[in-house]
């Protein structure tokens, strides 16, 4: 009797736990993201609120659109400085957040974003 109860009431949760154990690795093992894809994810998360670019479906128009990036920013260094701290690299009153200085992006992530922006 007791055992029946236990199994009746525990079945649900046990199944859920088992399923999640199985599905978590499956989901994350789905496909490792390439560096370019990682850069795109970061750009969609942090840049599209203000900038338009290919694939951004909630894009803002506050900043300039991301087009012809390699022509407009031939120097990678310049792009890096702007993303790290535009108040220094662009102008003191700029609206653009200091993504590097305020820790939204670490050094490696900035490079991933730049690589992606250069595809635009």
């Amino acid at each position: 009797m007791n055992r029946w109860l236990v199994s009746k009431y525990l079945q649900g949760p046990v199944l859920v736990v088992l399923c999640s154990l199985i599905s978590i690795p499956v989901l994350s093992a789905d496909k490792p993201k390439t560096p370019l894809e990682q850069g795109k994810v970061l750009a969609l998360k942090l840049c599209q609120a203000c900038h338009e670019f290919k694939g951004a479906d909630q894009a803002g128009t506050v900043g300039p659109p991301f087009i012809q990036m390699s022509q407009r920013f031939p120097k990678r260094e310049r792009m890096r400085d702007i993303i790290y701290d535009p108040q220094k690299a662009l102008k003191p009153h700029t609206m653009m957040p200091p993504f590097g200085r305020h820790g939204f992006l670490d050094k490696k992530e900035i490079e991933l974003v730049i690589d992606y922006l250069y595809t635009l």
Partner: protein, 278 residues
């Protein structure tokens, strides 16, 4: 001779810089409103008070549909009932305000000489309650917002007219509000100024940004997102939260100074409150 040159040059310099150093609220206002007129030459002062709906045709149409049965009407009725119902001591709100509280909303916030501080209309409604033995109401929504909606409705069409008297404490409050408006806050380091001034008319994450000038004309406002009315400080707090900053607390000196400066920006534009927004 050298000395003469020096005097002439310093006189010239002071002539050039004096207007800037001495720029008071009126000079600010003229310059600020000119900025928006230049940025949006097709928008009249009245247009500016229509906020984001100036910049998106679809949203404009939806908004006009909503406005054919304005969702704030109930709040005006509720507010009127509250305003005219006597307190337990038999007195009414009308006893606390000049002109019985009719058509005064467009002149608030005001600088209060006695306390040396800015007083919002919301604060005065609560002071009136306390003076008459009632408990103060919560500041951001509900009954207080309804009372303000009713009072604002009696000012509809009047030109916004917030005064900054020429005395040090009032000017200091104004300057403090201005400073707060232009101060970066939160992890993204945005100031109110960035979104509603520099970037006004542009889109941020799919939202067209309204102009700072004109915003204060339609508060309190019914917001679909809130499912009800909210006061202007509720909206300020919303913007502060949205950018990940710690919101200022309602009715603090800082918040009231912000409201003072921000409402002053709409001087000369007809009050159109209560209003409605998505």
């Amino acid at each position: 001779m050298k000395r003469l040159y020096f005097i002439i040059i310093s006189l010239l310099i002071s002539l050039v810089t004096l207007p800037i150093v001495n720029a008071g609220p009126q000079e600010d206002l003229a310059a600020y409103q000119k900025y928006f007129n230049k940025k949006f030459p097709d928008l009249s002062a009245v247009d500016l008070s229509n906020g984001m709906y100036n910049f998106n045709k679809d949203k404009r149409e939806q908004w006009e549909d909503i406005m054919s049965f304005p969702p704030y009407e109930i709040a005006i009725d509720d507010g009127k009932a509250l305003f005219t119902t006597p307190f337990k001591n038999g007195k009414t709100y009308a006893s606390c305000f000049e002109k019985g509280g009719q058509a005064i909303a467009h002149t608030y916030p005001r600088f209060d000489k006695k306390s040396g501080k800015v007083k919002t209309l919301a604060a005065l409604v609560n002071e009136c309650r306390v003076k008459n033995g009632e408990k103060p109401l919560p500041y951001l929504k509900g009954k207080l917002a309804s009372i303000l909606a009713y009072m604002a409705d009696t000012s509809r069409g009047q030109l916004m007219n917030v005064e900054v008297p020429a005395e040090p404490a009032a000017l200091a409050a104004y300057e403090d509000g201005k400073r707060i408006y232009f101060t970066r806050r939160g992890p993204r380091a945005f100031a109110c100024y960035h979104c509603h001034w520099e970037a006004a008319g542009s889109k941020i994450r799919g939202n067209e940004l309204s102009t700072a000038v004109g915003q204060a004309t339609h508060f309190p406002t019914y917001r679909s997102k809130w499912g009800g009315m909210g006061t202007i400080q509720r909206r300020y707090k919303g913007c502060m939260k949205n950018i990940g900053a710690k919101p200022l607390k309602q009715q603090t000196e800082a918040m009231n100074n912000l409201e003072y400066f921000h409402t002053f920006l709409s001087n000369g534009i007809p009050m159109n409150a209560p209003g409605t927004r998505f």
